[in-house]
C-alpha cells in the first residue's frame, strides 16, 4: 500500500469532520441497479444476490445493522446521476453498490468518488475505469468488460480455428467485445458484422454465416437479442455445424427463454452455478429456494460485494469514518468468494480465474452454465497497467 502523504492528510481531515463515531448507527448501502425496462432482469439478479447475502449474514454487515436503499437507474445515465446524489446526500449511504451498465457507471463514477464514498461495481467494468480513470474509491467484484470476451478469443486460438465470424450490436460495448476477442485470437476474421442495437431478427446475418462457412462464430448479444439469436441460430441448423462462442449471451438470465436451443453453446465466465465449493452450493440452493431461478453471475458478484463489505467492516471494527483504513481492509478482501480464488489488483479490479462454460440441462430440467475448462489463471485485465492512481 503506497499511500501518499496528500491523500492521507485528506482522508484524516474527512475522518475528523465526521468525528463522532457512528459504530452503533445503521450501516447504509445504496444499490444502484437497472430495475425497469427490458434489461430489468439483470438488475433483479444483482438485487436478489445482495439481499440474500444480507439475510445470510443475519441482517448485519461487519456487525452493524444494515439498511439497503434500492434505486432504479432506469438505464438513463443522467437520471442515475441525480439518484446517486440522492443516495449520497439524502440517504447518506456508506457504500454504493451497482450498476449493471457501463454507461451508468461512467456517468455516476465522478459524483460518487468525489464524495469519497466507496463504489463497488457488481457488473460494469468499463476500460477507462480500470485504466486511466481508475480511482482508489472504485472497486469491482465482477471483471473488466473485455475479459469474458478474451476467454473466447483464447479458446478460438487454442483450438486452432482458422476463420471466425464476429457478430455484435452496433454500440460501444459491442465494439469493445470484438476488440477483446481479438486480443488473443490471431486467425482470420472473415467478417465483423454489426447489427443495429435491439435487432430482433438475425436471419440476414445467419444467411451470411451459412454462406461463408467459418470454423466458429463469436458473438456478444446481451438480453433479448441473445435469446433471439440463439433460437434462430439453432433453427437455421447452424448450431450443430459451426461452434457458437459467446459472452453475456448464453447465461442464466437468458437460458429460461432460450431453453433447449442453447444447450451446448459456449461462453466465457469467471464463475458458474455448478462450481463445486461448499459456499457456492449453499448459495445456489438458497438463491433458487428464495427466487425460483438459477442465479446468474450478476447475483454472484453482488453476493460477493456484500461479503466484501462485511469482511472489510469486521477488519475496521465496524468503522467507516477512517477511509484509509477501510480501503486497506477492502483491498485485502478477506472473504471467501463464491468463485474461489479472489484478490484485488492495483486498479481495484479482481485478479481471478476465467473459465470456458457451456449451457447444459440439469437433472431437474433447469438450465445452467457449467464449467468446461479453466482458460486463464489469476488473470489481470489489460488496462491495469494504465492505472496510475495510488491505491
Amino acid at each position: 500500500m503506497n499511500v501518499t502523504i496528500k491523500t492521507l492528510g485528506l482522508a484524516a481531515a474527512v475522518g475528523l469532520a465526521a468525528a463522532p463515531a457512528m459504530a452503533q448507527e445503521k450501516l447504509k448501502v445504496g444499490l444502484l441497479l437497472t430495475l425497469s425496462g427490458p434489461s430489468a432482469v439483470l438488475g433483479q439478479h444483482a438485487r436478489d444476490g445482495f439481499q440474500l447475502a444480507v439475510k445470510d449474514l443475519g441482517g448485519k454487515l461487519g456487525g452493524r445493522d444494515v439498511e439497503v436503499v434500492i434505486v432504479d437507474d432506469e438505464l438513463k445515465p443522467d437520471v442515475a446521476v441525480t439518484k446517486v446524489k440522492g443516495l449520497l446526500e439524502r440517504d447518506k449511504v456508506d457504500f454504493v453498490v451497482g450498476p449493471i451498465f457501463s454507461n451508468v457507471a461512467v456517468a455516476t463514477h465522478k459524483p460518487i468518488v468525489d464524495a469519497k464514498t466507496f463504489y463497488i461495481s457488481v457488473n460494469a467494468g468499463p476500460s477507462n475505469l480500470a485504466g486511466k480513470s481508475c480511482n482508489p474509491y472504485f472497486f469491482a467484484t465482477s471483471y473488466q468488460n473485455d475479459q469474458n470476451h478474451e476467454v473466447l478469443g483464447k479458446v478460438a486460438q487454442d483450438r486452432g480455428y482458422k476463420k471466425v465470424y464476429l457478430l455484435a450490436p452496433n454500440y460501444q460495448a459491442g465494439k469493445d467485445a470484438l476488440a477483446g476477442f481479438k486480443r488473443h485470437y490471431k486467425g482470420e476474421i472473415v467478417e465483423e458484422s454489426y447489427t443495429p442495437l435491439n435487432t430482433l431478427d438475425f436471419q440476414s446475418e445467419l444467411a451470411k454465416i451459412a454462406s461463408m462457412q467459418p470454423d466458429a462464430i463469436f458473438t456478444f448479444m446481451p438480453g433479448g437479442m441473445g435469446v433471439n439469436l440463439v433460437k434462430q441460430y439453432r433453427a437455421a441448423g447452424l448450431a450443430d455445424r459451426i461452434p457458437f462462442l459467446s459472452a453475456f449471451t448464453v447465461d442464466e438470465t437468458n437460458l429460461p427463454a432460450q431453453q433447449d436451443a442453447a444447450i451446448g453453446m459456449l461462453s466465457g465466465s469467471n464463475w458458474a452455478p455448478n462450481m463445486n465449493t461448499p459456499e457456492n452450493k449453499k448459495f445456489v440452493a438458497a438463491f433458487e429456494a428464495a427466487y425460483n431461478n438459477v442465479p446468474a453471475s450478476y447475483a454472484m458478484h453482488s453476493y460477493d460485494a456484500a461479503l466484501l463489505i462485511d469482511a472489510a467492516l469486521k477488519a475496521t471494527g465496524g468503522k467507516t469514518d477512517d477511509k484509509e483504513a477501510l480501503r486497506a481492509a477492502i483491498k485485502k478482501a478477506e472473504f471467501k468468494s463464491l468463485r474461489g480464488d479472489f484478490k484485488f489488483g492495483a486498479n481495484g479490479f479482481p485478479v481471478q480465474d476465467f473459465y470456458l462454460v457451456k449451457a447444459a440441462k440439469r437433472p431437474d430440467g433447469k438450465l445452467e452454465t457449467e464449467v468446461v475448462e479453466k482458460v486463464f489463471d489469476d488473470y489481470t485485465d489489460a488496462y491495469a497497467k494504465e492505472c496510475t492512481a495510488t491505491n
Binding site: N170, Q203, A207, G224, Q259
Partner: protein
C-alpha cells in the same frame, strides 16, 4: 454476394415487412377511421405475444395457444376501448397521445408484474420446426415461411374485407369522411368498436406469430410501434394498400441495407471507411427513407382524400 444470398435476404425482408404490415394495418385503420392516435397499439402486439406464451405453457400446443390467444387479444382490445379509448375520441391528438402513453407505461410494467422481467420463450410448433435447404449449406426455417404465408393470407383477406364487404365500405368511407358516414345514419360507435377490436386482434396476431422466433419481453412493442408509425406515414394514413406497400419497402430497406450497405459503399470508399460509414448509416436508413418520401410526397405514397 451471390444470387442465393440476395434471394434469402429478400425473403427475410418480406417476412419482416409482413409482420410490420399486420401491426400497421390496425394502426392505420384506427387512425384513418377514428382520427385516433393509439400509441398503445404496440403493447397490444406485446400482449398477443404474452398471451400465446401463457397459453402454450398451459396447453402445451402452439396451435391451441394461437386459437385461444386471438379471441383473448380481441377481448383485451375491446376492454381497453371501453375503459379508456372510448372517452378519448373527441379529444385532440395530444390528449390521446398522453393517455395512451399512460396505457403503455401501465401494461409494460403490468406484464412484468405478472410474468416477471425475464424474457419468456415459446417453442416453435413441432410441425413447422424443420428447415428447408435453399442452397448447399443454406437452411431456411419452415416456420418463417409459415409467417410469410400467414401474412400474405391475412393481407388478402383484409383486402377482400375492406374492398368487397359492407363493413369495409363503411370503413373506407369513414377513413375519408367520418362525419359524413355518421350523418348518413350509420352507428359510428359500433363501427369504431369493430375497427378497434379488429386492429387489436391483428396486432395480437402479429405478436403471437413472432413469439416462437423472438423473445417475449416487457417493452417489446415500443420499437415496433415506432416502425409501424413510420409505415403508416409512408403509406398514407388510412390506406391499407399504402400500409402494405410501405411495410414491404421498410422490410426490404432494413434487411437489404444492413447486409449490402457496406458492400455498396466499398465501391467508392476504402474498405475500412466503408464499413465504418456503413455501420453508422445502416440504422438510419429507415428514417432517411421516410424523410425522403415525405419530402417528395408530404402526405405519404397513397394519401386518402379528405
Amino acid at each position: 454476394m451471390n444470387a442465393t444470398l440476395l434471394f434469402v435476404q429478400a425473403l427475410n425482408g418480406l417476412q419482416f415487412g409482413l409482420i410490420l404490415f399486420l401491426i400497421a394495418a390496425g394502426l392505420t385503420l384506427v387512425f384513418g377511421v377514428m382520427d385516433f392516435i393509439n400509441l398503445a397499439h404496440g403493447v397490444q402486439y406485446m400482449v398477443g405475444a404474452y398471451l400465446v406464451a401463457a397459453f402454450s405453457a398451459w396447453t402445451g400446443s402452439f396451435g391451441w395457444a394461437l386459437l385461444l390467444a386471438l379471441p383473448s387479444a380481441l377481448a383485451f382490445g375491446l376492454l381497453l376501448e371501453v375503459l379508456v379509448f372510448r372517452h378519448l375520441y373527441d379529444r385532440d391528438h395530444l390528449d390521446q397521445v398522453l393517455a395512451t402513453f399512460g396505457v403503455i407505461l401501465f401494461l409494460n410494467q403490468g406484464v412484468k408484474f405478472v410474468w416477471g422481467a425475464a424474457p419468456l420463450s415459446v417453442p416453435v410448433p413441432e410441425l413447422l420446426s424443420g428447415s428447408v435447404e435453399i442452397a448447399s449449406g443454406l437452411l431456411y426455417p419452415v416456420y418463417r415461411l409459415a409467417i410469410i404465408a400467414a401474412g400474405l393470407v391475412v393481407a388478402a383477406l383484409l383486402y377482400g374485407l375492406v374492398n368487397h364487404t359492407r363493413v369495409g365500405m363503411l370503413v373506407r368511407a369513414g377513413a375519408s369522411n367520418a362525419s359524413m358516414v355518421s350523418a348518413l345514419g350509420v352507428n359510428i360507435q359500433r363501427l369504431f368498436m369493430i375497427v378497434f377490436g379488429f386492429g387489436a386482434m391483428l396486432a395480437g396476431f402479429a405478436g403471437a406469430m413472432v413469439a416462437p422466433i423472438l423473445s417475449v419481453e416487457p417493452g417489446m412493442g415500443d420499437n415496433i410501434l415506432i416502425l409501424a408509425f413510420v409505415v403508416i406515414v409512408i403509406g398514407g394514413i388510412g390506406s391499407i394498400r399504402g400500409a402494405f406497400l410501405a411495410a414491404l419497402l421498410i422490410g426490404l430497406v432494413d434487411t437489404v441495407g444492413r447486409t449490402f450497405a457496406p458492400n455498396l459503399l466499398r465501391l467508392f470508399l476504402d474498405p475500412a471507411a466503408a464499413s465504418q460509414t456503413g455501420r453508422a448509416i445502416a440504422p438510419m436508413l429507415i428514417y432517411i427513407f421516410m424523410a425522403a418520401v415525405l419530402f417528395f410526397r408530404p402526405s405519404g405514397l397513397f394519401p386518402v382524400k379528405r
